[in-house]
Amino acid sequence: MNISRRHLLILLPAAAVAWKYVEAGTPEASPNYRMSDHWWGMLIDIPKCIGCGNCVRACQTENDVPDGFFRTWVERYHVDDIDMTNPEVISPDGGKEGFPVAKEDEGKYFFVPKLCNHCVDSPCTQVCPVGATFISPDGVVLVDRKYCLGCAYCVQACPYGCRYLHPEKRVADKCTLCYHRITKGLTTACCEACPTGARQLADLKNPNDPIHEFLRTHSVQILKPQMATGAKVYYNDLDGSVR
């Protein structure tokens, strides 16, 4: 092939620009965001949660979640001091408007915010017959609305009950970990709205993320570890009665 020095000088920068987009993964996504540099998860600090419902409202606003459906919700546990295996769990309207006042009582109370665990070995993505749900290269479980048939296999497969069928779009819907925000350098809507810092977005591939120090120094758990889902939502100080 005959390429003059002049042509080479023109071609090289063009190739460099093109390569940047190839590396970024999806050319239509923001070019500064590289999927291979991230591995997303979340930290829930149970002792900090006050059950205000800010996260639930923020999520519904940010993601147009229809009323009565939840991508995130808050549960209040009331654990007896005699029988800890049968806690009383309430979540009125997902905790969206807070919780009824609890009187001083025997046992203990605490709040557990829940959302998609963005599992590495997710049961929901495994059962999808058409490849409409998947874990992205940066560790977020997403639903392709154009490809989803609405068969709801994934809704049944999720052991955490984090999925629902969208009543109007007729497709499976779930937490995207605010993928449209985190790829722009913002935090999720629920973390942005949390007044106490009970929820923290975590980039497990970023060595400077405070999550690493936190995981080293705290007693952290995931939900239903026995299901081997590889959940990436970490709960600090999680009570054994939480299912």
Binding site: G25, T26, P27, E28, A29, S30, Y33, M35, K48, C49, I50, G51, C52, G53, N54, A58, T61, E62, R76, H78, G98, F99, V101, A102, K103, E104, D105, Y109, F110, F111, G131, A132, T133, F134, I135, S136, P137, L142, D144, R145, K146, Y147, T176, Y179, H180, R181, T183, K184, L186, T187, A189, E192, A193, C194, P195, T196, G197, R199, Q200, P210
Partner: protein, 180 residues
């Protein structure tokens, strides 16, 4: 004429019969080849271009999801203009409570500050959401019985919501907040 110089009548018959049978096979083989080509053609048309780029899914879906609109601007966007309030807030107990935790989603205001004006929240409702006393909340979290505490008066009568504590000299730790 030598009897062995030409194939027997039986051999000729057999050969003709074979060709006749093979004809069926060739026709079927042809059909299969055409069906396969049609399959490839339809498949190429039906399967999206980016399907399989990263796995058994349409890679373009990632970009589509990332392109959804943002509703919460993020506290950095607020602080860029409202530096006076950010200053007040940074010295008080609400230092790390993000703006939109109380004011709601305001990306529309951040994008167009002149035509989209946020509504001031009603403190009697807003503050109570977090600070109403209940046994379920962590003990260290500041809680009051609103009716007892203020008799229904709006909280900002006494408190500045951006720096709600009173300067009593007690060095209470600021709320942890969502800001890193």
């Amino acid at each position: 004429m030598d009897y062995h110089s030409r194939p027997s009548r039986y051999a000729v018959l057999r050969r003709q019969r074979f060709m006749k049978d093979a004809g069926h096979l060739f026709r079927f083989a042809g059909l299969f080849v055409i069906a396969f080509l049609v399959f490839l053609l339809v498949r190429g048309y039906v399967v999206p271009k980016t399907f399989g780029q990263y796995g058994h899914y349409r890679a373009a879906a990632i970009g589509e999801i990332a392109a959804r609109p943002v509703k919460f601007a993020g506290h950095q966007a607020c602080e860029a203009c409202h530096s006076d309030i950010a200053d007040t807030k940074s010295k008080g107990k609400h230092a790390r409570v993000n703006c939109e935790a109380c004011h709601g989603a305001l990306a529309a205001h951040a994008d167009d500050p002149t035509s989209v004006k946020p509504v001031k929240p009603d403190t009697a409702v807003l503050c109570a959401r977090c600070h109403t006393a209940t046994a379920a909340k962590p003990k260290a979290f500041p809680q009051v019985d609103p009716a007892d505490h203020s008799g229904g008066a709006p909280c900002q009568t006494c408190h500045n919501p951006h720096s709600p504590g009173f300067d009593t000299g007690s060095a209470a730790a600021p709320a942890a907040g969502g800001a890193k």
